[in-house]
């Protein structure tokens, strides 16, 4: 049975993909690696930009790519701690 990922886990996966790609990845590969539908990905993408976890930048050729912000790195650092906390208090 396929277990649906929790919201926090999806966010972690997206941020980790960006980090693992030298903190720079284009939208199409990010969508593909994140294993999300286009609609779900769009919702997460907007949410992450709004929360200042990722930034959508443009290079000199006008191609778009995502990078992590400091807050995004902090989230990645603290993810396992947050998961521990949630499971400890059964939240």
């Amino acid at each position: 049975m396929v277990v649906k990922r929790e919201r926090l886990e999806v966010i972690y996966d997206i941020l980790k993909i960006i980090q693992d790609n030298n903190n720079s990845i284009k939208p199409t590969p990010l969508l593909r690696f994140s294993n999300l539908s286009f609609n779900s990905f769009s919702i997460y993408e907007k949410d992450l930009i709004k929360k200042d976890f990722i930034r959508l930048c443009e290079d000199k050729k006008g191609k778009k790519y995502y990078t992590l912000t400091d807050k995004g790195f902090i989230y990645l650092d603290k993810y396992s701690m947050i998961k521990n906390f949630i499971s400890e208090f059964d939240l």
């Binding site: 807050k71 989230y75 906390f85 949630i86 400890e88």
Partner: protein, 213 residues
């Protein structure tokens, strides 16, 4: 039997109330960062629960410092209970936020309890309504402790602590309703609360401290 309002606060009680107050606000502020990062509803409700427990401890500590146990204390005692009630409802929401979606129910229920207590001018109405909620949370905690321990879904004894807290809190309400408050019981209650809240604060601190790998 001595009426609870005729008794002042002992040093042990004052110290215990301060410990509860500090523990509640410690938990609230310590979880701020992870809530800001995640906007996790469960964490949000959990924080609010301790914020309201903290508010009730603030009022209680003010009166314990002033040493007033007269009319004003009787009046404000209602608000102490109401803050505890809001806290406990938020706590319930933190466990079942996926099923309980409407936060306004907490305030509606509290308003209902407050209005009932003013309308009927009886401590039994307030006492039994709050006792009912405490019982529900107590039963949920005990059930989760027994069930989740068996199925090994969680590896902590946090539900044991919750069960202890809510069952004891609920029992104390029963004593309060029937005016069976004794000096010893009050001191024991405050010490117990201080230990439990401090322990929860300790777990929060332990879980939210980054360890170097």
């Amino acid at each position: 039997m001595i009426n609870r309002f005729q008794m002042g606060f002992s040093y042990v009680e004052i110290f215990s109330i301060i410990v509860v107050l500090l523990s509640c606000f410690f938990i609230y502020f310590k979880t701020k960062e992870i809530y800001d990062l995640t906007s996790h509803k469960g964490i949000g409700y959990f924080r609010k629960a301790f914020l309201f427990f903290g508010f009730s401890a603030v009022i209680l500590s003010l009166f314990s410092f002033i040493g007033s146990v007269g009319f004003e204390f009787r009046f404000f005692f209602r608000f102490i209970i109401l803050f505890q009630l809001i806290g406990i409802l938020y706590f319930l929401f933190s466990l079942f936020y996926k099923k309980l979606k409407y936060e306004w129910i907490i305030y509606l229920f509290t308003l209902f309890v407050l209005l009932s207590s003013f309308m009927f001018r009886s401590k039994y109405v307030l006492g039994f309504l709050v006792f009912f909620i405490f019982s529900v949370v107590g039963v949920v905690s005990i059930y989760n402790y027994l069930y989740k321990k068996k199925s090994s879904k969680i590896n902590s004894n946090i539900y044991f602590i919750y069960s202890l807290l809510f069952v004891f809190w609920g029992l104390r309400f029963l004593l309060f309703i029937f005016d069976l408050t004794l000096y010893f019981e009050r001191e024991f209650y405050h010490i117990m609360m201080a230990v439990v809240f401090m322990y929860i604060g300790f777990i929060v601190n332990d879980k939210l401290t980054l360890r170097k790998k």
